[in-house]
């Protein structure tokens, strides 16, 4: 039997992965959750029909959304992670001994439960005693915080569905308020390649730029995401994304598969068409 998972990357473009086994299918209050075993990518997590992560390439996304801000400010102590129910982001953060507090705010409890069940290695960070998970709306949580966090990581789904509120001006404004004077916000910023998402990239960047004095973009190559070319937002009150504190960061002695200091420098060098898009 030939079983394939398909996802439309845009109108007229389809991406497929061959499936070994359908491990889980369920529906939460917020979305449909599916987990498959695949030949090439290991286990993969699908939310509302869209591929969220694969065991094979998750390291790229998660290393890039965590080590970039940590290398800019290795003294970060209090972190808020929004979304990230799969655990990949937290797994990288708990590698830093100097971090004191990691608040994870995920709207969908079922995603966390199922990821713990099917991705035990990826979710191992949730057991760290510095981590506390709250199941609520990210926008609501951040609204009540003021001048507290050093870093906010927005590890959200796409801007349609439950993650919608995390791409709004009111969300970024409330994040600004929740961050202290050293504050950095990093978010997953979609792909600039296909026309259908260009507008989102542009608008999201504009909203961040209106909220933070510093607002930049960096990129990574993620094979299973639409077009493979993925952007991250780097917004902050004080630091530029390329102000790397190399000496301090290296002291942590963290082993990476994708991230390194040279790549960090280069990740902020954007293709011309992206530069023009966000002008």
């Amino acid at each position: 039997m030939d079983l394939w998972f398909c996802e439309n990357h845009c109108d007229g473009v389809k991406f497929q992965i061959k499936i070994d086994q359908h491990l889980y299918s369920g529906e939460s209050d917020f979305q449909k959750i599916d987990i498959f075993q695949t030949e090439e990518f290991g286990k993969i997590l699908i939310l509302d029909g869209l591929l969220m992560l694969t065991e094979k390439d998750e390291f790229i996304y998660h290393e890039m959304i965590t080590h970039i801000p940590m290398a800019v400010n290795p003294f970060v102590k209090k972190i808020l992670v929004i979304g990230a129910g799969d655990g990949g982001t937290v797994k990288r953060l708990v590698q830093y001994d100097t971090i004191e507090e990691i608040d994870v705010v995920e709207i969908d409890k079922l995603v966390v439960e199922k990821c713990i069940e099917y991705f035990p290695d990826l979710t191992s960070g949730f057991d760290d005693k510095r981590v506390s998970i709250k199941f609520e709306d990210g926008l609501k949580f951040v609204r009540k915080k003021s001048n507290y966090y050093d870093l906010i990581i927005v590890d959200s789904t796409d801007p349609f569905g439950p993650g919608e509120g995390l791409f709004t001006k009111e969300f970024y404004g409330n994040c600004y308020k929740a961050l202290n004077e050293n504050g950095i916000l990093v978010n997953q910023h979609e792909s600039p390649f296909y026309n259908e998402y260009k507008d989102i990239v542009k608008k999201t960047h504009q909203k961040l730029a209106l909220t933070f004095p510093i607002s930049e973009l960096y990129q990574a190559h993620i094979p299973t995401y639409p077009s493979g070319h993925w952007l991250f937002g780097f917004a902050s009150k004080k630091f530029n994304g390329t102000d790397i504190n190399e000496a301090e960061w290296l002291k942590h002695d963290i082993k990476c598969k994708y991230y390194n200091i040279d790549l960090h420098k280069g990740a902020f060098a954007l293709p011309t068409y992206v530069k023009e898009m966000i002008k």
């Binding site: 709306d137 926008l139 609501k140 439950p162 509120g165 009111e170 404004g173 409330n174």
Partner: protein, 480 residues
């Protein structure tokens, strides 16, 4: 009665399946004649945009499926009869007034009515006797009608034919409808209720009393506002002592003879939905609204008011589905918050006036949207909040009526700059839209206070409508 039935919808489905050949209007012939519109609205929608025909009945003289839909609606609303209205609730309000008043007849009404009511007076020539609703000074909103004030107006005008009551107001304030109705009937006058914002009272639990339950004679219900039907569709309800055949004649004076089946079927489907699921739908609405109110009040500065403003007299009850928010304490006019929500946060609310905003919450909302509204209000306060000093509070300006709306509207007029018009008789309306409550109506004396109010509202960004001069620099006054 079996509220599962939807006679108009069922007839349209039948009609669609019968594949009738059309040599009648509309000329788009099920969409083929206008491919661009069909792509936009969808072929299913175009195929049921049809004209009256035997199996689909006729709105002007209903005998089959439309009549059945009327009977079902009357049953659902607890009315003696219900009319499907396709020219908006405005037409229902006008039909109510024209049914009980002729030229020169008096009608008692609060001045904070929707323009549609005063428009009806322009058309039929009835003379308004205004009751001045009290204002809640802290919030700057007009309240309901007290029994005492109505009693006084009736004593002074025993010859009046009817009393017109808007219940609830746009902000959700309700009057003591049962006592008012009893009082009016004791004086042999008719009670007309503008329930444009109260459809849900008929279907939700623990709601303020409805016009029909209070034995009012006629009521205009905007099904499209909070009942889920398409924009412009509405019901006119009749109480026990109303001759509905006469009402139908009055409706037919101004109603289209090409009633839209899209609108009528939406009324039919929405009525069924509310009759069967109204309790759940409006419980969810209230839960969402109460949550939003609680969170917004915690932000500080904003006052998302509710039942606590009730005093048993001028504000007898409050419609808890309404999310009305007073904004003056954060130093912003309601209209400024309204504009900022729209321009900077992509959030469209129902209206903003001088001191308040109103957000309509329904079962179609999700917590996600509520969180966005709350977070945006929090941000607006953080960015733009200031001292309320210098902000005008909304005062009810008591009108001085010196001429009937009809006479002044049709009299010879002069155009004057608004700033020089004090002391003159207005020949046209001026209002902020929404809410569409006239600041000045034809036949009323323009005062400096009114001019200041209009200029202030204009400066703050209210959409001012009514005058022929679209820029509202000039106003037409009655030539004396």
């Amino acid at each position: 009665m079996n509220q599962e039935r939807m006679p108009i919808y069922e007839a349209l489905l039948n009609h669609r399946n019968n594949r009738i050949v059309h040599f009648d209007v509309p000329s788009h012939k099920g969409g083929r004649g206008n491919p661009e519109l069909t792509r936009f609205l969808g072929a299913d929608c175009m195929r049921v945009d049809v004209n009256s025909m035997k199996p689909l009945d006729n709105l002007c003289h209903p005998t089959s499926v439309i009549r059945e839909a009327e009977i079902l609606a009357a049953d659902a609303f607890g009315a003696k009869n219900a009319f499907l209205m396709v020219n908006g609730t405005t037409s229902a309000v006008q039909a109510m007034i024209m049914s009980v008043c002729k030229s020169g007849d008096k009608i008692i009404l609060p001045r904070n009515v929707h323009r549609s009511a005063i428009n009806a007076l322009v058309v039929c020539g009835a003379i308004p006797v205004y009751i001045n609703p009290l204002t809640n000074k802290d919030l700057g909103i007009s309240l309901g009608i007290s029994v005492d004030s109505l009693e006084k107006a009736i004593k002074e005008n025993p010859d009046a034919k009817a009393v017109f009551i808007n219940n609830p107001t746009y902000y959700g304030i309700c009057s003591d409808l049962l006592s008012l109705t009893t009082l009016v009937h004791n004086h042999n006058m008719k009670v007309l209720v503008d329930e444009a914002h109260g459809t849900h009272f008929y279907f939700g639990e623990n709601m303020p009393i409805t016009a029909m339950a209070a034995k009012a004679d006629l009521s205009a219900v905007s099904m499209h506002k909070t009942g889920g039907s398409l924009t412009q569709s509405s019901f006119l309800l009749c109480g026990e002592n109303i001759d509905e055949s006469y009402i139908r004649q009055i409706i037919n004076l101004t109603q289209t003879t090409s009633g839209s089946y899209l609108l009528m079927s939406s009324l039919d489907i929405a009525r069924k939905n509310l009759a069967l699921h109204g309790k759940d739908i409006f419980k969810k609405t209230i839960d969402l609204t109460e949550y939003a109110r609680h969170e917004i009040n915690k932000l500080g500065g904003y006052i998302a008011f509710s039942e606590e403003i009730c005093d048993g007299v001028n504000a007898f009850a409050f419609d808890k589905t309404k999310l009305s928010i007073h904004t003056r304490q954060i130093g912003l006019a309601g209209i400024e918050v309204y504009d900022t929500l729209r321009d900077e946060y992509d959030i469209q609310i129902e209206f903003g006036d001088i001191g308040n905003i109103l957000a309509i919450i329904s079962s179609g909302d999700r917590l996600l949207e509520i969180e966005r509204l709350v977070a945006s209000l929090s941000e607006i306060k953080r960015h733009y909040g200031k001292s309320p000093k210098g902000l005008m509070s909304q005062e009810y300006i008591e009108p001085q009526v010196v001429m009937s709306p009809k006479k002044s509207f049709y009299s010879e007029k002069l155009v004057l700059p608004l700033s020089e018009s004090a002391g003159k008789i207005a020949g046209e309306f001026v209002m902020c839209y929404p809410p569409g409550i006239p600041i000045i109506a034809p036949g009323e004396i323009i005062t400096n206070e009114i001019i200041d109010y209009i200029l202030y509202a204009k400066e703050k960004g209210c959409l001012i409508t009514g005058p022929q001069d679209m820029d509202i620099e000039n106003i037409r006054i009655v030539k004396e």
